[in-house]
Symmetry: C2
DNA sequence: GTGCAGCTTATTGTATACAAATGACCTAGG
DNA sequence: CCTAGGTCATTTGTATACAATAAGCTGCAC
């Protein structure tokens, strides 16, 4: 979209993801406009988009608040994501182009490289992981599915999960990607869907472990 | 939302659903503002919402067009809807309150009444059918699921389907609702999900039949 | 002390003017 | 006749002023 509106979207989204705007905080259009150095109009636009991303919720009187997620909400989000990503993998298995398959192999090789050293390169892992899943979503060839899924991925909780991955989970994730590539190579839709569902559910439990550890540590 | 913006949303949405704005038509904010007798600001707001509903698509240069749906798109929408509504039924089965169960029975009785006479009362059928599915979605207790599903239901194609239901499909729909109530009554999540998935897929084929008949008649 | 009424203030909704960008058309040159 | 370039019209983006509405607060009555 346009410059000012995009800028506002990126800035506000960044502040939410960074925790600068904590869950439950009220958002004033005027304050955000000052912060982003644009007028209220593009800020309103950005808020609507963030609301559709479920990063913001609005009260019945149209005031905006940073969404806060209960444990049930988080489980719910992972459950839906598992279902939809599995469906994406199912569709992709019979539609994926050779070039896309090669691109998957490429990104997973780089994921392997990122986690190979003594200190894992988490930003590189995240980037190639994102690209990997994006290719599958593109190969699924369903704009509706893509539209639904982008509302569930890269949300605060999901985004933070990988930050807390331990070495074992990084290795498993890399291995599951390899299995996905194998399933795509054989054009086995059921296999691809099963691996993907498990892949997301494992990520959920990895998140739970990390989150529980954090909460315990905070006490 | 607010008065003018809501009004614009309702009017534009109505024009699209009624076919007054045909698929592929370009939408000018100014023209719609005149038509709705409001300024461009609430029209822009309404267009963003309709875009998020997938009723409108925007070109890369931000111009708005009425979305047109290929046969694949339609199959895709029904497939996703079947998956998500089945998930809603699965969750609802173990969470539904006695009062909600009774409300389901109530609406399905009225559906039965609406299709009992020689001439079926389609508006009543649609209204109680909508209420029936809405109760299940509420009982599922997942705002995320609700948010995703509302983007798929009541879209042009889905909406037109019931208009073309023949007596046999109306009767089947009523019967499937009864089975859903039975599954909820037994708290059988798997059963409820299966019935719901079949319910939506049957609706898809009913749509296909009606659509094919229309196309054949048009030649 | 509690609760309600009315006012004050903060916040969002709408209209309008203007700026920027895009697309179409038309003309000039090959 | 076709293409390239530029100009003009159309359309969307942004800023700002003003209107409407909702939240919060103060003070009064009970």
């Amino acid at each position: 979209m346009s410059r000012a509106s995009d800028h506002a979207y990126t800035v506000i989204r960044g502040m939410i993801l960074a925790g600068e705007l904590p869950p439950g905080a009220q958002l004033s259009e005027e304050a955000l406009a000052l912060r982003c150095e644009v007028s209220r109009t593009p800020v309103r636009d950005a808020l609507r988009r963030l609301e559709s991303d479920l990063l913001i919720r609005r009260s019945e009187s149209q005031r905006s608040f940073v969404a806060d997620w209960s444990d049930d909400d988080i489980e719910d989000a992972f459950e839906l994501r598992a279902m939809l990503e599995a469906q994406a993998a199912r569709r992709a298995a019979t539609r994926i182009a050779p070039a896309q398959l090669e691109a998957l192999r490429h990104h997973n090789r780089l994921i392997g490289a990122a986690i190979a050293g003594d200190l894992a390169d988490i930003p590189a892992f995240l980037e190639h992981n994102r690209a990997f899943h994006e290719i599958i979503l593109a190969a699924a060839g369903s704009s509706r599915l893509a539209s639904l899924l982008t509302r569930l991925i890269e949300q605060p909780v999901v985004w933070r999960t990988a930050q807390n991955y331990d070495r074992e989970n990084l290795r498993r994730s890399h291995h599951e990607h390899e299995e996905l590539v194998a399933a795509f190579d054989r054009r086995d839709a059921g296999w691809a869907a099963s691996i993907m569902a498990g892949h997301i559910r494992r990520a959920y439990h990895a998140y739970l472990d990390a989150y529980t550890a954090q909460r315990t540590a905070a006490e």
